[in-house]
Structure formats: structure tokens, C-alpha cells
């Protein structure tokens, strides 16, 4: 790289007049899409329009109907508001412009460099061989403007996310293909890999699944209770305090539907491709070998329909926030069990859930799990660790032996009295936790020791980070 820069510096003298060269950077550094400042300040714009319209209605009401405007807008007239709002908008646009002016990115050899910051300059280098996933996110406004945000998830700290907002859509696709090709160890000019669709979630099924969730049932039960109380007492006022909570529940259900609308999963040589979203769309690419752990959930309410859900842990998608996980860590929001398991086997090659069944927990686990102790199963297969639990709703959790970050054996006071212990395989953060709960304490120790060996062997034999290159 330095050689390249040196040569360029030597050529500057020969450049024709009128051509400027950014001496600090490299000519390979690019700017974001020119619409970025406008799109970044659109929040201010929307807030302003919203506020102005309420003010306007108040004033019109006041003038036409002679209502007294009791609101906060009291003494201020429309021009004053317009000036305030205009000032805010100009400030936002100016900041947006500066942000755009000072943000540059470019691929330099093995890293993606992103320079940002107006006052405090920051230069971030993203090591491409550590790339865990690449997402193209398009909020509604970005879709209207024909642009997209590119998000890179890198292994490491919590906020390792490196977003590039905004790029033109074709350029976002091209950059994603280039990043994935370089991350795989292929030539940068490799075209976007072809893909083969695996699953498409029908809208009807998603709607059914969203409605058959615990929160909807809560809503229903509450509604019935309210209806009964109202008919008995004839008073409706006491419902009011509960309305915000109900609203929240309803919104969660709607959000789950909107986020996962038109969910498709496709397979390509550079990884798993997931697309979804009704208003904001998200197109995820998870390269091979980046799935840390997976969980198949059989919710009780979906059982008659035979539907299940699949969640993933991918490093970098990590979040303690359920809303965020709903956006990033879902492999299949809803689907028939056979489709889901088929998909799981494709995502985790070598998995054989139909083969050896994991071992059940001992009978005395009943003391701690009076209900569902029979369903506590766990065990190691050739390349995967598998654990199951749950009575009404069931979970099946799988993790490749090559993926635990650490392994733990824990025993609480109640467990000690029953000579039980739990084995945990610690995954990168995400919705899936892997544990063999309430095993016989000696069997648990044997399981831990076996897992230590399996982890070591699998790690040593693991595919290289640049998955397209042959192992060294």
C-alpha cells in the first residue's frame, strides 16, 4: 500500500492544472451518496412539519371558530415558528453536509477504511477476514430516495458495527459483493455470487403466527375480562390506566409482522442471504461458518399448525434488545417444522438431528423441574452439541463444537442436594443460550471434559476465516 501511495505522490507534479488530489488520503477513498445530508436531516424535517401542522390547526381553529388556543403555542405566530423550524432545518442540513464532506471510505488491501468526524476525526479500519456479516438496510425514506445503508458486522467489541449511510443501491450491492469476495480471499472483481432460494414465508402464515403469540393471547384474555367487568358493573373508566400497556403489546405484535414481512432465505456460495421487511427492508448476508448457535422453538400455540421458529447467534448481531434481535437474528420467523429443520441442516452442514437422540436428564431432576423434566435432554454428536428443553413450548438448541467461547459447569445449592449440575457452552451474545440443564453431577463433569476435547479438536480443524481459500 505504501508503495502505491509513494508512486502517486511522485506523480503529483505531472498532474494537469485543475486536478486536485487529496494528499492525506488515497484516491481510492470515496464519498457517500450526495443525498446523505438531506436524508440525515429528514427527522428534523418530519418533526418540524408535524409540529407546524398542529400549530397551524390550533391557529386556524382559533381564528375561524373563535376557540381559545390553550396549547403551548400560545403567543407565537406562524412566522416565528417557521423561522425557528427553518433555523433547525438549516442547522441539520449544514451538519449533514459537513458529515458527508468529512466521511470517506475505501478498500485498502485487507481492510476497509472509514474516515469520519467533523471536529474529532476518526479513522476506522475494518479487517475483512474478521467480517461476520454484511447487511444492506433500507429505511423507508432511503427506499424512496433509492439509496441504502451498508452495515458491516465485525467480530469483537460491542459497537464494532461500521455503518455506511447512505450509498446508491447498485453501489451498495457492488460494494457488498466486493467486501465478501475479499473477505473470502477471492479476487475483488468477483461478481456477486448466484443464489438459490430456500424458503419464502407466506404472508398468511406470518400473520397467523403473529396473531398466535403470547402477547395476543394476553390481549384477548384482558379484553374478555374487561368486557365481563363492564357488563357487570356498568363502568368503563377503570380500563384507562391499562391502555398504554395494551397499546405496547399490540405494537409489539404488529412490529414482529412488519419486520418479518416477505421473509426469504436463499443460499449462495458467499453465504446465507436473508431478506425481509415491509417498510424498512433488510438484506443480510452471513458468510459460511459464521453461525455460532441456533435454536428451533416450537411455541405451544403454534403446535396445532405444526409451525416453528428458528433463531441464530451471529457474532456482531449481538444485542440484549429483543427488538434488535427480531431485526437481525432470525433465520425463520415461522415455518413448518420439516422446512425449518431442513433449513437448519443447510445452514449447519453436518448436523444430524434425526440420528442419535440426546440423553435425558436423570429422574431426580424432577425435584427442580416438576413439569417438563422428561424433556431435558442434551448430548454431543460428532460435530454438534444438542440440547432440548420445554414442556408446553419446546426448544432445540444446537451449537457446533468449534464455536463455544468458554465452557462452564455450575451447581447451585438445590442442585448440590440432588447431585445435579448444569453444563454451559458460552456463545457470542445473541438470543440463543446453550446449556445442558440438571445433569447428574458426575455425568456433567464427564460431559464438560468431553466438550473441552471436542472443542479443541474442532477448533484446530476449523475452516480458515477466508472460507474460499484452501486450508493452509
Amino acid at each position: 500500500m505504501s508503495e502505491h501511495v509513494g508512486r502517486e505522490a511522485g506523480e503529483i507534479a505531472a498532474l494537469p492544472a485543475g486536478v486536485t488530489v487529496d494528499l492525506q488520503g488515497d484516491t481510492s477513498m470515496r464519498r457517500l451518496h450526495p443525498l446523505t445530508p438531506v436524508l440525515r436531516s429528514w427527522v428534523v424535517l418530519a418533526a418540524g412539519i408535524g409540529f407546524l401542522s398542529t400549530q397551524l390547526t390550533n391557529i386556524v381553529q382559533g381564528e375561524v371558530f373563535g376557540f381559545d388556543d390553550g396549547g403551548g403555542g400560545g403567543g407565537l405566530s406562524i412566522p416565528v415558528w417557521a423561522v425557528l423550524f427553518g433555523g433547525a432545518l438549516i442547522a441539520a442540513l449544514a451538519y449533514g453536509y459537513l458529515y458527508w464532506r468529512f466521511t470517506k471510505y475505501g478498500i485498502q488491501g485487507e481492510v476497509l477504511r472509514i474516515d469520519t468526524g467533523v471536529l474529532f476525526r476518526q479513522s476506522r479500519q475494518v479487517a475483512l477476514d474478521r467480517l461476520q456479516a454484511v447487511d444492506i438496510v433500507r429505511p423507508l425514506v432511503a427506499r424512496l430516495a433509492g439509496v441504502a445503508e451498508l452495515r458491516l458486522e465485525v467480530a469483537g467489541g460491542g459497537s464494532s458495527e461500521a455503518p455506511l449511510a447512505y450509498l446508491s443501491l447498485p453501489h451498495a450491492h457492488q460494494l457488498r459483493a466486493e467486501l465478501l469476495a475479499r473477505a473470502a480471499g477471492l479476487d475483488a472483481a468477483t461478481p456477486e455470487a448466484p443464489e438459490r432460494p430456500l424458503v419464502r414465508v407466506p404472508t398468511g402464515q406470518l400473520l397467523l403466527a403473529s396473531l398466535l403469540s403470547g402477547s395476543t393471547i394476553t390481549l384477548l384474555v384482558f379484553g374478555v375480562a374487561v368486557a365481563i367487568t363492564i357488563t357487570v358493573t356498568g363502568q368503563a373508566e377503570f380500563v384507562v390506566p391499562f391502555i398504554p400497556a395494551l397499546f405496547g403489546t399490540a405494537i409489539a405484535t404488529v412490529r414482529r409482522f412488519v419486520v418479518n414481512y416477505a421473509f426469504t432465505v436463499a443460499e449462495s456460495p458467499d453465504g446465507l442471504r436473508i431478506r425481509k421487511g415491509l417498510l424498512d427492508t433488510r438484506s443480510q448476508t452471513v458468510p459460511p461458518g459464521r453461525v455460532q448457535a441456533a435454536r428451533v422453538t416450537h411455541p405451544f400455540l403454534w403446535r396445532p399448525a405444526g409451525l416453528v421458529r428458528v433463531d441464530l447467534n451471529v457474532a456482531g448481531y449481538a444485542s440484549a434488545n429483543d427488538n434488535e434481535n427480531e431485526k437481525t437474528s432470525v433465520l425463520l420467523p415461522v415455518g413448518p417444522a420439516d422446512v425449518a429443520y431442513d433449513l437448519l441442516h443447510r445452514v449447519l452442514p453436518g448436523l444430524d438431528l434425526a440420528g442419535s437422540a440426546p440423553e435425558p436428564a436423570p429422574r431426580r431432576a424432577r425435584g427442580l423441574r416438576p413439569v417438563g423434566w422428561r424433556r431435558l435432554r442434551a448430548g454431543a454428536q460428532a460435530t454438534f452439541f444438542v440440547a432440548e428443553e420445554g414442556w408446553l413450548g419446546r426448544h432445540v438448541v444446537v451449537m457446533p463444537h468449534a464455536k463455544p467461547q468458554s465452557m462452564r459447569l455450575t451447581q447451585g445449592p438445590a442442585q448440590r442436594r440432588l447431585q445435579l449440575a448444569t453444563v454451559h457452552l458460552d456463545s457470542t451474545s445473541g438470543p440463543v443460550a446453550v446449556a445442558a440443564v440438571h445433569r447428574d453431577q458426575y455425568a456433567a463433569r464427564v460431559m464438560l471434559d468431553a466438550e473441552i476435547e471436542l472443542e479443541r479438536a474442532a477448533r484446530v480443524a476449523a475452516a480458515p476465516d477466508r472460507w474460499a481459500l484452501p486450508a493452509e
Binding site: 477476514d129 474478521r130 461476520q132 467480530a155 469483537g156 459464521r290 455460532q292 457474532a315 449481538a318 464455536k403 463455544p404 467461547q405 468458554s406 465452557m407 462452564r408 459447569l409 455450575t410 451447581q411 447451585g412 445449592p413 448440590r416 454451559h424 458460552d426 456463545s427 457470542t428 451474545s429 443460550a433 464438560l448 473441552i452 472443542e455 479443541r456 477448533r459 476449523a462 480458515p464 476465516d465
Partner: protein
């Protein structure tokens, strides 16, 4: 673990319970000795029980620098055995608060890509802690793999 860790923890416990005892005395003089005595008893008994527990807790800590992984064991009521392969170590911290530093101690904390990894060694002589950190960082570096 260094026996000095026990002293440090006893001081911390003592300081906390001393506050309870002082409140007990104040309540006794100002309000009622019935409540005050109860508070004093809580402080004294709490210290005795805590001292026993701290002794066992500190004694329960142990670690082993294996060929491929660090193993840490700790806990009396809630027992835990943690195995962290060196290849998974992202970084190692050495921490020491003011009190623990007075006794020449320091704690070592390991971080992996998993937030669930609970791998810490709380009370080592400061020089030993720094040495352990360097050793672990070296072991992690030579074996480092991707996730």
C-alpha cells in the same frame, strides 16, 4: 489465592456492618434500645457468619494454566468451573481498587467474544497478576483463531 484477599474482604464486610452497628447505637440512644439491639446483633452475627463464608469462598478459588486452556474454579454456595481455551481470549484486564492495592493485590479478568464467560481471578499478588496477564495474552496470541 493470596490469604490477604481474605483480609481485604473482611475489611469491606466490616466497614459495611460497622455502618449498621452505628445506626443501631444511634437508634438505641435516640429511639428505642429494642430496635437498636436487634441492629447491633445483626451486625455482629452478620460479621461472624460473613467471616466464615469469606474464608471458605476465598479458599474455594483455584486456577490451572493448562496446555490449551485456563481453568478457574470458585464458589461455595454457587459453584462454578470455567474453562477458557487460550485461543478464545480476546483481551485480559488487570484491575485493582484502592483497598486491594494497599495489600499489594490485583485481579485478573479474562474476556472472550461471549458475555457469558465468567472468568476472573480476584486476588493475586500484583506482580503475579501482571505476569499472568502477559502469559495469557501471549498464549492467546499464538493460538488465536477467528470466531
Amino acid at each position: 489465592m493470596s490469604p490477604a484477599l481474605r483480609t481485604v474482604r473482611l475489611i469491606t464486610l466490616g466497614a459495611t456492618l460497622a455502618v449498621v452497628a452505628i445506626i443501631g447505637l444511634a437508634v438505641g440512644f435516640l429511639v428505642s434500645w429494642r430496635v437498636g439491639v436487634v441492629l447491633l446483633a445483626v451486625a455482629v452475627l452478620g460479621f461472624a457468619w460473613g467471616a466464615v463464608l469469606i474464608g471458605r469462598q476465598v479458599a474455594s478459588w483455584g486456577f490451572d494454566i493448562g496446555s490449551d486452556a485456563l481453568t478457574i474454579r470458585h464458589g461455595v454456595t454457587f459453584r462454578e468451573l470455567v474453562v477458557v481455551p487460550y485461543a478464545r481470549i480476546q483481551y485480559v484486564d488487570v484491575q485493582a481498587g484502592p483497598l486491594i492495592r494497599k495489600f499489594g493485590l490485583a485481579g485478573v479478568q479474562l474476556h472472550t467474544a461471549s458475555a457469558a464467560t465468567d472468568a476472573a481471578i480476584p486476588g493475586l499478588p500484583a506482580a503475579e497478576a501482571a505476569g499472568l496477564r502477559d502469559q495469557l495474552a501471549r498464549l492467546g496470541e499464538t493460538r488465536s483463531v477467528g470466531l
